[in-house]
């Protein structure tokens, strides 16, 4: 009944784009990751040398470590904050609409601008953070947050961890689909608010939580703005991450083969992390 020609017309554009932006780049990065290439001229085959170099490069190790650190912070700090806020707001406390609206604002502001804002916030002389510490008499706690190797990584993670609006809204949407009778029945059976949350609400939205974590992994693997704008990977690579490493190798160092190898590692790491989350979800669903 459906003619092949019609399908080709309707599916064609999307399939062409997917070929151009997924299949072609994937083949390109895999092939060129085994070469030494300056971006122009012929590429020279060098086997796995790029990969052996990568794992010896302290900047790359720092990039891997930081990417995993962000994933962990996302899962163990940001996600619980999102969930807790959603649980509180779903009970519609006083001014709940205000809180929901206010907490969501950062989700509509670009990450670049948020990064720029936090760069200003953490400025040693005019920033709000040191300014506040000074005005409450805690001058000893003031730091050059972004250029001090012991604080830079934590400092650029702050906006990522505290902006919970997006996750909160996703969980709120899910919570609103739970039948009210279920919670009312639990209430009549004597379950208090905590028990209702832990035994009914959270299990009911566990799928959404797993999907949120999947989204978070993708977000962290694409995270470029915070390190690029706030620290440019420094001081001494402590805030380096995978996208910034690829970018620097390509744009600054013209080491395209190395950039490709780092890209391949990013794709593989992403696939592995997502696989772990999906397996975790399947394990939870099967119980």
């Amino acid at each position: 009944m459906v003619k092949a020609r019609q399908l080709v017309v309707y599916l064609g554009p999307a399939v062409v784009f997917a070929l151009a932006f997924i299949v072609f780049p994937l083949i390109f990065v895999i092939v060129l990751s085994f070469t030494q290439w300056a971006g122009i001229g012929p590429a020279k085959y060098i086997g796995i040398q790029n990969y052996t170099y990568l794992f010896k490069d302290p900047a790359f190790r720092s990039a891997i470590y930081n990417t995993l650190l962000w994933v962990a912070a996302g899962i163990f700090v940001q996600t619980p904050l999102c969930l807790l806020t959603a649980l509180i707001i779903s009970r519609r406390p006083f001014m709940w609409k205000f809180f929901r609206t206010a907490l969501f604002i950062p989700s509509v502001v670009s990450t670049t601008i948020l990064a720029l804002m936090w760069y200003f916030m953490l400025d040693p002389t005019v920033g709000l953070v040191n300014g506040t510490l000074n005005s409450v008499g805690l001058k000893s706690l003031t730091r050059t947050w972004l250029s001090d190797p012991s604080t830079a990584q934590w400092a650029i993670m702050v906006p990522f961890v505290i902006y919970i609006g997006f996750g909160m809204v996703l969980f709120l949407t899910q919570i609103s689909t739970i039948p009210r009778e279920l919670l009312e029945a639990a209430h009549l059976d004597g379950a208090n608010v905590w028990q209702q949350d832990f035994f009914i609400t959270i299990p009911a939205i566990r799928r959404a939580i797993a999907l949120w974590i999947l989204f978070l992994v993708g977000y962290v693997l694409k995270m470029f703005e915070y390190p690029f704008v706030m620290t440019d990977g420094g001081p001494v690579n402590v805030t380096m991450n995978l996208p910034l490493y690829v970018y620097n190798q390509m744009v600054t160092a013209n080491a395209y083969g190395l950039a490709m190898a780092a890209g391949v590692v990013t794709v593989v790491l992403g696939a592995l992390l997502m696989l772990v989350v999906l397996l975790g979800l399947r394990w939870m669903e099967s119980r």
Partner: protein
């Protein structure tokens, strides 16, 4: 333990903790934004006087200074053109593909999986091949090159959202139209398109916000005012005007104003569009 048996003291503590948590989180979210807004009206000496001091004169001097220092209007225009173009292309292609996939055919599952596979791809890993693709199409340093890339990178999520909406159209409706003699194309234009418009609007909000906010590819694919977006341009306040903080603050405030205003006007739609991104 029922609510009534919970000791009153415990309940008071729980309530206090709950409110403290909400308030601290909200303060952490709002205060930096308000501080930035306040600081954008100050003069440089006022800025050094302390974070909470009020400016002596509320003037827009920093804002006009920022507009003179950087071609913000050009950046703004480029961002609008790119966001509108890429959103429109993604929506048209996703709707067409999702419609085709409502029909049964041999490779249906494979095509569906292929279009979705992009959801699991960190596109940042592909910056070099994508750069070369745009370069060889002759679109480097143009808004069209950036729009093309955003179309490619947002297609998977656009497809996911729109497919969700298309699946809510009952098969009976399409079948009835076919029995009445409507062709493949007319079912799409007369029945499917009108029905998914609300869904498309929601998808459009999400896609245009994503396109508006992107930095990496915009930065990689443009080096001139004719194609640089607001996200790329706003960084210039950091690199070239580091000395003039108040102007940089004013520039940042102007850059975040459009999306915050859009959110203020359409807050429910925006929230809904974010929530529609697949976690259904």
């Amino acid at each position: 333990m029922t609510a009534m048996e919970t000791p009153a003291a415990m309940r008071v503590i729980a309530k206090t903790v709950k409110w403290l948590f909400l308030i601290v989180l909200t303060v952490l979210t709002l205060v930096p934004l308000l501080w930035l807004l306040l600081s954008s009206f100050k003069t440089t000496p006022e800025l050094f006087r302390g974070p909470f001091s009020l400016p002596a004169h509320w003037s827009f001097a920093n804002f006009s200074g920022a507009l003179d220092a950087q071609p913000l209007v050009d950046y703004f225009r480029n961002s609008v053109v790119i966001a509108v173009t890429s959103t429109a292309m993604t929506i048209v292609m996703s709707t067409m593909a999702a419609y085709a996939l409502r029909h049964r055919f041999r490779l249906r599952g494979a095509v569906n999986g292929f279009l979705m596979s992009g959801l699991f791809v960190p596109f940042t890993a592909f910056m070099t091949p994508i750069f070369y693709l745009v370069f060889h199409l002759g679109l480097y340093n143009t808004v069209w090159g950036i729009a093309l890339v955003y179309t490619g990178t947002t297609l998977p999520v656009g497809f996911l959202i729109i497919k969700g909406y298309l699946e809510t159209i009952p098969e009976d409706l399409l079948e009835a139209a076919r029995i009445d003699g409507a062709s493949f194309h007319s079912v799409f234009f007369r029945i499917v398109c009108p029905l998914v418009v609300p869904g498309l609007a929601t998808a459009a909000i999400f896609l245009s916000i994503s396109a508006w906010n992107e930095l990496l590819f915009a930065n990689l694919l443009s080096t001139s005012t004719s194609s640089e977006t607001l996200q790329v341009g706003i960084r210039n306040f950091l690199t070239s005007y580091a000395a003039n903080y108040p102007e940089a603050f004013a520039g940042t405030v102007m850059a975040m104003a459009p999306t915050i205003l859009a959110y203020a006007l359409l807050s429910n739609r925006v929230v809904e569009s974010m929530a529609a991104t697949g976690l259904k």
